[in-house]
Symmetry: C2
Subunit: 531 residues, 2 copies
């Protein structure tokens, strides 16, 4: 395998779009959209840059922002984009932070954002689902349910300001038993590049009773094609909601030694596989845990990455450890109590581990004080936003270096050691987060930095880029990636001389011949950019 | 909506392929494949017709049969098919009975069948999955696991002779907690029409450790595109397997009155949604239940459909009812016992209902005498094959008229009444089967007939065809359909003037420009057949 597998002319990708074409398209759009639907003022457009870019960064710059309020406006926008052959980069809320936020891969792109198309179109209490527009935030869906005395729970990620649709489309996760958000998606409406409106799944039948309850339809299932993708713009999505459980029991497990991660993963795997732990546990290391409550200067002010003995000091704080796992149990109280016992027997018996639980009435939740108990009950908040301010400064940022792996001690240790090693060389702390699913886990190197410190920011991006190939050599692919190294990540998917890329390009060219939809998203480039 | 939405020239679809082209292609294939890989003798080819076609039926006839033993042979076959522009209709084992079996939509097609490509390539005990070739039957996978003292269970449909891959690709189901077979699929290898080999999901990375454990990859997920599809030929598939539970508890619920179906579905819905019942229960009516044990002549020999009072007689037999539901619980014994209590409280309290359970050590299963207990433990058999011989005669057949619906009493009653009414008019008995998932159910009208009775067989097909549009008008689409009315079913998916069809055709033309792969599958026709 050659060291650099991309042979296409990179300049088409990294040079901005022709400003003349953009100006002409914007002028045309101004005649179609009102001032609230089309932003061109520099300060307004700047809000749609990557919020974690450092100040002198020039890549990934939007030229104007489109905020449609209807499917018809989306169609009108695409008609203009096809006419002038200008790229439209779509985000829902644009909170894909750590991976580029709302910023486009190709500078000069028009950014289409759905913040103003944010209606909860339906909540069905009987079959427990919602149909939402892409601008609906986790906060909005939660508030809607509470305002209507719904018995249904949302599943939310750590920060509640993101879009339910956007998070799902980028393979995002939450932390109730419905935390595998892609698995809870049921039904989709998509505007294709040519403006045609497709409803995937049973929605392909105009009056179907099953669009939001039966996941497939008649023939091939297209839903997965529109996730992490630039094949269409999702304008409606169904999402399954969880009936409130009788009993909600969040739990904590702390581990004494760094090496205990391996035994934990070995003992956790069967509990995940058989559903004894039904949600997606999150395992974080001491540095990550500390960053939720304090700044780095409270622990260490010396040079280089935080030393092991200081990490040990952090780990000795009450409720901390070298690793700590949050998880939760849900349902009938007798069953939950038995699950508590099984989990305690399996995990609480690890040498030096502590395990503890809280118990709540799932139908009458309190005002939680602990942000981790809140998020696992599907209650959105912004509490954990402070983790990015670890290095001090007002403008903390992070990049996610996020690999999928089997749930084994070997794989956990390999990723921990790889990421920690590279970050140490870069002078950065290793903030490790492992989100555990049924048969796989995502190891996120949460690479935190001060965006106003240009040197540190560059180190952070460089460290992530330096990790991509070594991770792939070990067999770990990223499940999501920042704009800055999206192509490099895509290059690692190399089976049969990049058969996946060839296949993706055939679909891209067939569905979007002018290459207007989010060029470069996940390394998929339209013909005109491939040279 | 016009009554007949298909405006394309039907003759291209229903006329056989040019026999000259087929002869030339077969001649070329004879130089590439040995006599075991290419069958042309009339009696051998006849085995790949629809086994439930009646004798004087001329549609859906294969011209020759290809039985490749390797991916390379599949590639060679497609090269010839492209050269001579002849259709290749693919099945795995070809046991898609009730929907056409191995028979092709277009008469004269070459039938590609995978019975000789049947290796279990890997079983991973740690992460609990298998990687299989498409010819692997449920019997084969089960036998492989038992021969290797595996702790893993398969999930199997009622008849064990089908292909694990083929069943999954046609959205088939089984009856353990892993019974939603599509949901257990993880990773796929596909030969595209041009012979290129694609690995979907994490398999796109050549040395990925996660191909069979993490369901998505980098970018759009293509797996769903290759199910109920003619976009590629699946040559490998990953399938998740269930670790044997401590305790296995199959249960039976019988209902006294026909109308009790509605209250059952209402009470069952929450138990499905929260996983109290973790497998896919099957609810069958008295006629269906009787057909597993006896012939129709034991109950009724008069004219017309079996009368209500005779059905009441059947329902009064021990273990029977107007409806009977089989279901099962799995896992830790304390949890299973609590689930038994919750289920009994919710369902056993329906007026006139009886509920009963058996209990087994999940790690040391007995030789089951009851076929329903066997299938819900993932043990394949052919026991339930006798249901098709309801009308007597050696060659019983059935057609599945199979709609997806929400899990509500209203929807259950509406489908029951619709299907029963139409079958009664056709002089046929209503054998009703409802398979219940997390948020939807499939109502199967199991239309049973004697294939040697040409009049009855025609009545059965005509009744199914007569049901398609009325069902669609009520909002119910079929989840799978017989070749004979596949186009009609596809026509009902009409949102936005058949946007799904337009989309499917764009993909078909891009991926298979010569239209060689299974033309007509699920109503998707290549350009050359669309006129």
């Amino acid at each position: 395998m050659p060291d650099e597998t991309v042979s296409e002319p990179r300049h088409l990708r990294d040079q901005p779009v022709s400003s003349r074409a953009i100006e002409a398209a914007v002028s045309r759009l101004q005649s179609l959209l009102d001032g609230e639907s089309l932003l061109t003022a520099t300060d307004q457009v700047a809000e749609f840059r990557d919020p974690f870019a450092h100040p002198d960064w020039t890549s990934f710059q939007p030229s104007a922002v489109l905020l449609p309020t209807s499917v018809e406006e989306v169609q009108a926008i695409l008609q203009v984009a096809n006419e002038y052959k200008v790229p439209v980069w779509t985000s829902s809320q644009g909170r894909n932070n750590g991976y580029g936020g709302p910023a486009p891969r190709v500078s000069g792109s028009l950014v289409l954002n759905f913040r103003r198309m944010n209606r909860v179109l339906e909540v069905n209490e009987e079959s427990a689902y919602a149909l939402v527009e892409p601008g609906v935030r986790f906060f909005d869906l939660y508030d809607h349910l509470r305002a209507n005395n719904s018995r249904l729970w949302t599943s939310v990620p750590d920060l509640g300001w993101g879009s339910v649709v956007g998070n799902t489309l980028d393979h995002g996760v939450g932390y109730t038993p419905y935390g595998d958000h892609v698995a809870q998606q049921c039904g989709m409406e998509v505007v294709l590049a040519n403006g045609d409106i497709l409803r995937a799944g049973m929605g392909a039948m105009a009056n179907a009773k099953t669009w939001q309850v039966y996941k497939r339809g008649c023939g091939p299932s297209a839903d997965g094609l529109f996730m992490q993708s630039n094949y269409g713009i999702v304008t409606k999505m169904g999402v399954w909601l969880m009936p409130a459980p009788d009993c909600y029991m969040p739990g904590w497990l702390t581990l004494k030694r760094d090496s205990d991660l391996e035994i934990l993963l070995e003992r956790l795997r069967p509990l995940m596989m058989d559903g004894t732990i039904p949600n997606q546990p999150m395992i974080i290391n001491a540095v990550c845990a500390a960053s939720a409550f304090a700044g780095r200067e409270d622990w260490y002010t010396g040079p280089g990455p935080i030393p092991e003995d200081v990490i040990d000091d952090i780990a000795r704080q009450p409720g901390f450890g070298r690793w700590v796992m949050r998880f939760a149990l849900y349902g009938d109280e007798t069953i939950v109590e038995r699950q508590r016992q099984i989990v305690s027997d399996a995990l609480g018996t690890i040498d030096g581990a502590t395990i503890s639980f809280s118990k709540y009435d799932g139908r009458a939740l309190p005002e939680f004080t602990n942000p981790h108990e809140r998020v696992q009950a599907g209650v959105p908040s912004m509490d954990l936003d402070r983790m990015t301010r670890w290095y001090g400064g007002e403008r903390g940022g992070h990049i996610g270096f996020s690999c999928a792996a089997p749930i084994t001690g070997r794989d956990g240790a390999a990723l921990r050691d790889l990421v920690k090693g590279e970050l140490s060389r870069a002078g950065l702390d290793y903030s490790g987060v492992i989100i555990v699913g049924r048969r796989s886990m995502i190891h996120v190197g949460l690479v935190v930095y001060d965006t106003e410190d240009a040197v540190q920011a560059k180190s952070a991006y460089d460290a992530c880029k330096a990790l991509v190939k070594p991770a792939a050599k070990l067999g770990y692919g990223e499940y999501r990636s920042h704009l800055d190294f999206m192509d490099m990540v895509s290059d690692q998917y190399d089976f049969n001389d990049h058969a996946q890329r060839r296949f993706n390009e055939v679909l891209k060219d067939a569905l979007d011949p002018n290459g207007i939809l989010s060029p470069g998203k996940q390394g998929i480039w339209p013909r005109s950019y491939r040279g």
